[in-house]
Each structure stands twice: as C-alpha cells, then as structure tokens.
C-alpha cells in the first residue's frame, strides 16, 4: 500500500492544487479519517496506565486473562459488523444468528456428531443465513438493510427459542467449545482471544489486499460509482453479510464454551448494540466507506478495559451500559466537530 515514496509516482505528479494536508505525518493523524482511532487508542493507554497505578487487581494475570476471555466474543462479532458497516449497512441480526448457531451446535454434538465437524457446520450455517437471507434480500432484491436485519433478528431469536423448546443445554462436557470459549494457552492467553485477533488480522488483510476488500470500501463510499465501475455489488454485499453470519456462528460456539451451556437467548439485542457501539466508537463511519477493522479492535478493547476498570471498582453492569452510551455520543460529537473544522479550513 505504501506508495508515496514510489519514485515513479514522484515524477508523475505536479504540485497539488488544493491546500489539503498531504498524507502521513502527525498532523494527518490528528485530522485524517483515522484520527478517532488514534484518539481512542490514546485513551485506552491512559485508562490502562491509571489502572496499573491505582488498581493492584488490574494487572493480576487472572484479571488480564478474564479480560481477554470476555472480550473475545464481542471482538469477533466486531469483525463481521465492521465489514457490513463499511458497505454502508448494519447487521442487527448477529445476535439472532449467534443464538440459532449455538443451538445448532448443541443439537449436533448431542446427537453424536464430532465437535470439529459440528463447529464447521455451525460456522457454515451462520454464513449461509447471512448470505442467503440478509445478503440476498439486501444486495439482490434491494430491500433496506435496516428492515431486513431487524426482521431476521426477530425471526432467528424466536426460532432459537422454539427449536430448543426454551431450554438450555448443558455442554460443559464438550471440550472443543470449552477450548474456544474458556481455556487459555499456557493458562494466560485464551484461545478465543487469539482466534478473534487472528480474525481481525485476516479481515484487515482481506480488506486491504483483495479486490473483494476494496469493493467493500467502494460500495460504502459511493454505491452508484462502484456499480458504474464494474464492482460486483450483487456478490460483495451478500458476501459481507455471509462473513458477518459466520462470525456470529463461531461466536455462538465460543459463548457455549464460556457459559458451559447452550442458551437460546445467548445472542440478545444488548450484545448486538454493544458491538455496533464498539465498531463505531473508533471511527468506522456509519455511512460506510471509511474506517478499518483495526479501529474496531481498538474500540472494543477500550470499552472492554473500561468495563473491567468499572467492575473492579464495584460499578455494576448497568453503569457500564450507561458509560458506553455516553462515550459513544461524545465520540461521534467530537468526530463531527473535527469534520466541521476540516471543512471550514478546506
């Protein structure tokens, strides 16, 4: 990607007519599209430093491991959500897919299917729901992403309850789910967190270095221009909902491992909205075309660390929700201020 130092480009270009900042350098970090990501990263470092200095329990290895363990599921969901939001959409059905896939996995392993096969089938099921239901209706039929995923969220959540007979299944005996959702490498690094980070890196590479990835940005940036440039929107849009569904499916199995049960209400609306908030926080634009999966990683990490810090100080879950909402509002407000300042200067 780095090309501003490519000699052929230097000779090809002539002084710039507009007085916008050139890319690179600290000034563009403060004003460019990744400014929110840098700002949130700085806040994250700040919170971590304060915690290290004032809260002895924070740095205990059990707390760190716990932090990573609870962060894994939202992180994984953020990967799918980021791709969808980059195309200018949103996937409200990730929770529903998560619930259905969790029940599907439980039914499979309880009927004697090997866990590895069940995992594969579950992830493919999530991808298929995302691609064939959300993706086709949004990307091919042309229905509103909001209505489609809202409807499929309700449909799938209800179906998970009906399919399980509103029961929870005890799956504490399933070692694969436990490994993904609970166990930690050398007792410190949870496998789920490693998997989530791997997903972030893979998504980051795909978004940057493949035609599919650039198509995602082009569609989010300007769907009409993308279509008129021959971008295959009719495949790319369903595919991002497929990726989102696959992430939800995998998260469903991780959730089973963490909770030792398969719960038909595992993927509730709270987690979906939390994931949207985490994605948007560090500058993935709700209108599409701008942001990165790394920004989503930073956003999630910040919210997780903050929640952990609040919990260690005895604030309960309700407070964490209040704080998350408030931070998101402040973040989008500041980003709007930044854009206004830029527009004024341009």
């Amino acid at each position: 990607m780095s090309s501003s130092d490519d000699p052929t480009v230097r000779t090809a270009t002539v002084p710039f007519v507009a007085d916008r900042l050139t890319p690179g350098g600290w000034r563009s970090r403060l004003t460019g599209t990744s400014a929110p990501a840098y700002a949130v990263a700085a806040l994250l470092v700040l919170v971590v430093l304060v915690e290290l200095l004032t809260e002895p329990n924070f740095s205990s290895s059990s707390n760190i491991t716990n932090l990573l363990r609870t962060g894994a599921v939202p992180m994984l969901l953020c990967v799918g959500m980021t791709m969808v939001i980059l195309t200018g959409g949103i996937d409200l059905s990730m929770g529903g897919i998560l619930s259905v896939c969790g029940i599907a996995y439980a039914k499979l392993v309880m009927s004697g299917v090997p866990s590895e096969v069940a995992l594969l089938v579950t992830v493919l099921l999530g991808a298929a729901i995302g691609f064939l239901v959300n993706g086709v209706l949004i990307g091919r039929v042309g229905l509103s992403f909001f209505v489609v995923t809202l409807a499929s969220a309700s449909l799938l959540s209800g179906f998970a309850l009906l399919w399980s007979g509103n029961r929870q299944y005890d799956l504490s005996w399933d070692s694969l789910a436990r490994t993904l959702g609970n166990d930690a490498l050398a007792g410190v690094l949870p496998y789920g967190a490693l998997l989530a980070v791997l997903a972030v890196v893979v998504a980051g590479v795909v978004l940057t270095y493949t035609v599919f990835g650039r198509s995602v940005y082009a569609i989010g940036g300007n769907p009409e221009a993308a279509q008129l440039s021959g971008v295959r929107s009719e495949w790319v849009v369903p595919a991002v909902y497929g990726v989102s569904g696959a992430c939800a499916g995998l998260a469903g199995v991780m959730m089973i491992g963490r909770q030792t049960i398969a719960d038909p209400t595992a993927g509730n609306n709270t987690i979906v909205l939390y994931v949207v908030a985490a994605t948007l926080l560090a500058g993935v634009s709700i209108t599409g075309g701008s942001g990165s999966v790394y920004a989503a990683l930073i956003g999630t990490a910040f919210l997780q660390v903050l929640a952990n810090a609040l919990a260690l100080r005895g604030f309960n879950n309700s407070w964490q929700m209040v704080v998350t909402g408030a931070i998101l509002l402040v973040a989008v407000y500041l980003d709007r201020v930044r854009q206004r300042l830029l527009a004024r200067r341009a």
């Binding site: 052929t8 480009v9 507009a18 493949t210 300007n222 009409e224 221009a225 440039s229 527009a343």
Partner: protein, 515 residues
C-alpha cells in the same frame, strides 16, 4: 436606510464575495448589484460560480469573504430561513418540491390554514385552488406532487415562491425543464414581479433568454466577475467573449484538421438500431472507430438516457453491435465486457468514490483484470495508475490523497482515466467538462481527440453547444427520446442545432427531464 451598502435604489449588493470549496475557488471577489424592479442576468459557463453566488445571497452558503447587503442591511450571515423571512427567495436548479405531499401542501409551504391547531384541509384545498387559478396553473390541489410530470413540478416550485411576494427572487435555470408555453408563463411571472418593484436575478443556459428578459447582465468567468453591462448595449458575440475570455475563445475553436479527416474507410465500432426504452424511442446511431459523435438536445431530450442505456444501466429493446458483434447490454459489467465505457454526467454522484484515493479510483474499473485469484497485485496497479496519471497530467500531491480533494478538472480526468486501463472500443462521455475550469477543459478536449485518434469511437453528450460544435465530427440532435436530426460537425451551427432541437413534435408528458 442609505449607507455604504448602496441603499436607495439598490436592493441587493454583494461586494467582494469569495467562496472556496475543497480543491476549487468557486468565487473570487465577486460584485453584484440588483436594483428594485430590475431583472439582472447572471451569465457564465458551467462552473463559473453563478449558482454558488445565488446560494450565498439566499443564505444557503456562507461566504468566506465579502459582504452582502439587502435593503441597506448587512445579511452576510443570514441563515436560509432568515433570508426567506427578509423576502429573498431562491428557485434552485434542482426542482425542489416534496413529492410525497399534495399540490396544496407544497403550495402553502408548511403553513396551511388551521382550526384549533389542526390543519383545516377543506380550507387549505380551497385556498390552494384559488391561488392556482390566479397563477393560471391547471393543477388539482389534492394531487400528489410526485405524480406530476417534472415540468409541472417546476411550475409549482416557482408558484410556491412567487405567491409569497418575495422582494428578491433568484432564478437558477428555472426553464431548463419547461416547455415553450410554460417558459413563456414564467417570463410573464418574472416581468410582473419586476413591475411590482421586486428585484430578480436570472440564470439560464439559453443565451437568448438574457436578451428577452433582463435589464442588465453581470458576467462571471472562473469565479471572478468580468463586468456588468446594460443588456441593450451588448450582443450575443460579445457576451460569449466575456464568458469565455478573449484568449479563451480559442478553446472552442474547431481544429481545422478535424474536417479534412476521412473516416469513411474506418470500421463501424458502434452500431445501434431501434434502441427503445421508457425514455428512448427507436434510436439509431452509428459511430466509426476514430469518430467523435456529439449528442445535442434540450434537457429531457433523452441524451443522458441514451448514454446510460449504452452502458447497460436501463432495460431496453433493440440491437447494439460493438465492432460488428451483437452485444447484450444487461448491466454495466456486460457493457464493460463489450468494450463500452461511460463517464457519467455527475462525477461526484456516479463517477468517483470521493472518499477513496486517486489511485484506487483509477484502478477500480480494471481491478478484476489485474488481480490474480482475487488478490490485488500492487506492482502492476502502481505502474498502471502512475502511467495514466502522467499521461493525463492529473495534478495531485500524491496518488494516495482522497479523490474528493482534487479540483473538478482533475477529478474528471480520473473519471476518464480509469477506463483507459481497460480494453476499450467505445467511450461515452456525458457532460465531460461540467464543473471544470477553462484550462482543464482545453486539456479534456485534447484528450478526447487523442483517444479518438487511437481508434476509439467516442460519443459526447453535452448541453453546451459550443462544446459539441468544438469536438464532434458529426452532431446528432435528440428530442423527446428520439433522434430528430443529424449534421456534419463542420456545417453545424448553434442556430441549426437549436432549430432541430426545438422543432421536435409536441411535448410528451411521460418524458421526464434527463436524469
């Protein structure tokens, strides 16, 4: 009341107004006076800053520098609502009505008569009916505005403004979507407004209208005002010279070599027969390799529909052959596969992804050729895009800045350049120099000619007659979705083309203005 602001007879005074948009200085120290009871024409090419000036007067944009006085008071920082309350009304180029609301609601503009705080529908409709009759508009108050043809929507938009008796009305090409009778109706409205002492500023793309309607004209060129004249003291030739600049008249001069070129032996690259759709009727068109065919016609004649249909955007019937082979233009991708490319008229909406880099915009249309197994290959991409940027002398600090930060001319070069990385036979350009400054315009003309020389068949759709006359080997004139005439470029004149465009059969209500 009188002060430095003019006062007295002067209703609106704009002094030293400047406005910058990313990548372009839209206005630079412009001065405009409008007196009471006067119609002032604002003249200039596309992109000269006329619309921006009106939007500043109406409070839609804030000027970066300069002052605006209305009736002796400074209104430099007025909001759109405040400007409206003062009696400044803008009728913008885009038809501004609420399509989902009724004629009465649109006309009464959000202030229908009320009873006990609730809208009194019966009285609202009666009042609207009365006012429509007064304005001689044959519309029913209860009709949904979205169901009306575009020209009636525009009449309604004008009526809505006129009924409020504004003291200053700014018209931005109000007649471009209107039929002859309706345009006459609008002229009458404007004259009666002026007679009542209102000030009027009028923009049109038909030069003749300035002579029929205005008392004075102020001419803009590239965001600067180049002078104000009494309309009676100038003629069309002088007005054009002021618009394009004495030394710049040359860019519209037809290269003599063009008319000595012999293309009769060149193979036919594009052959269209019986092309019909909801907006086109039985269009035939033949373009030889190396030939530039201009498509002229009024707004709504189907020029853009033809361009977009050739690129596979709309369902159609009829046959299209590219280099002798019949092709099915079912989608833009299919058209690309056949070697057809479109540079759309609205480059911000449809031509570029402004948030992405120059490089990515250049590479976008040829991503799938270059990639292997769906993975981008950076080296060829760098080389290709750098080559195109150099060939087209695209001016940018680096190819990694967002395309939206470039000037209009450079953006347009990207919109053209991205197609040059594909195997191309037919290039369709829709308004290739809209919103482009004079220098870039000359470069784009040279580029289009160079591409034709390389053997491309080029179709240029343009509302600027001078542009069509400058570029085309052959001019095809459209009206109401049909081809109504054709002339050799060398023989064609503004008059001959306008005559063809206007002598078309009566208006069809269904043919909405060109999208």
């Amino acid at each position: 009341m009188t002060s430095t602001s003019g006062g007295g007879d002067v209703l609106l005074r704009m002094a030293g107004v400047s406005k910058r948009f990313p990548g372009v200085q839209a206005l630079d120290g412009v001065h405009l006076d409008v007196r009471r009871g006067e119609v002032v024409g604002l003249v200039g090419e596309n992109g000269s800053g006329k619309s921006t000036l009106l939007k500043i007067a109406a409070g839609r944009y804030a000027a970066d520098a300069g002052e605006v006085w209305f009736d002796g008071r400074s209104v430099s920082h007025a909001s759109p609502a405040a400007a409206l309350d003062l009696g400044i009304a803008l009728i913008a180029q885009e038809v501004q009505v609420q399509p989902r609301l009724t004629v009465a609601e649109n006309l009464l503009d959000g202030r229908p008569p009320r009873r006990l705080g609730l809208v009194d529908w019966r009285r609202a409709n009666r009042q609207a009916e009365h006012e429509l009759a007064e304005l001689e508009l044959p519309l029913s108050p209860t009709m949904l505005v979205g169901d009306l043809p575009l020209h009636q929507q525009q009449m309604l938009a004008i009526a809505r403004v006129v009924r409020r008796r504004p003291r200053l009305i700014l018209f931005d090409e109000p007649t471009s979507s209107l039929t002859g009778d309706e345009a006459g109706h609008v002229y009458a409205m404007i004259r009666s407004l002026a007679q009542r002492g209102a000030g009027v500023v009028y923009i049109t793309h038909r030069l003749r209208e300035y002579f029929d309607l205005t008392d004075r004209v102020t001419v803009l060129r590239d965001g600067r005002d180049v002078g104000t004249r009494e309309t009676a003291t100038v003629d069309e030739v002088e007005l054009v010279r002021m618009m394009v600049g004495r030394q710049q008249v040359a860019i519209f001069e037809r290269p003599a070599a063009k008319d000595t070129e012999d293309l009769t032996d060149a193979p036919t690259a594009l052959e269209v027969s019986g092309l019909s759709s909801s907006r086109l009727a039985d269009v035939d068109l033949r373009v030889r390799a190396g030939e530039i065919v201009g498509i002229a016609g009024q707004a709504g004649a189907g020029r853009t529909s033809l361009a977009e249909t050739l690129f596979g955007r709309w369902p159609h019937t009829g046959t299209v052959k590219v280099a002798g082979q019949p092709v099915a233009l079912g989608s833009p991708r299919a058209a690309m596969g056949a070697g057809v490319a479109l540079v759309p008229e609205d480059r911000k909406r449809a031509g570029l992804v402004l948030s992405m880099s120059v490089r990515e915009n250049l590479a976008m249309a040829s991503w799938s050729h270059r990639a292997r197994w769906g993975i981008r290959r950076p080296a060829p991409e760098l080389a290709d895009t750098a080559r195109i940027a150099r060939e087209l002398s695209i001016k940018a600090a680096s190819l990694d800045v967002a395309a939206g930060t470039l000037s209009g001319g450079n953006q347009q070069k990207i919109a053209i350049g991205k197609w040059l990385l594909n195997d191309l036979r037919v290039l369709v350009l829709d308004e290739p120099t809209r919103g482009v400054d004079v220098g870039a315009k000359a470069e784009i003309y040279a580029l289009v000619e160079a591409l034709a020389h390389r053997g491309l068949a080029v179709v240029v759709v343009s509302s600027e007659l001078l542009e069509v006359l400058r570029l085309a080997h052959r001019v095809v004139v459209m009206a109401k979705g049909r081809v109504v005439g054709e002339e050799q470029g060398a023989a064609a004149t503004e008059e001959s083309i306008t005559r063809l465009a206007f002598t078309a059969p009566g208006p069809e209500q269904q043919m909405e203005a060109a999208r």
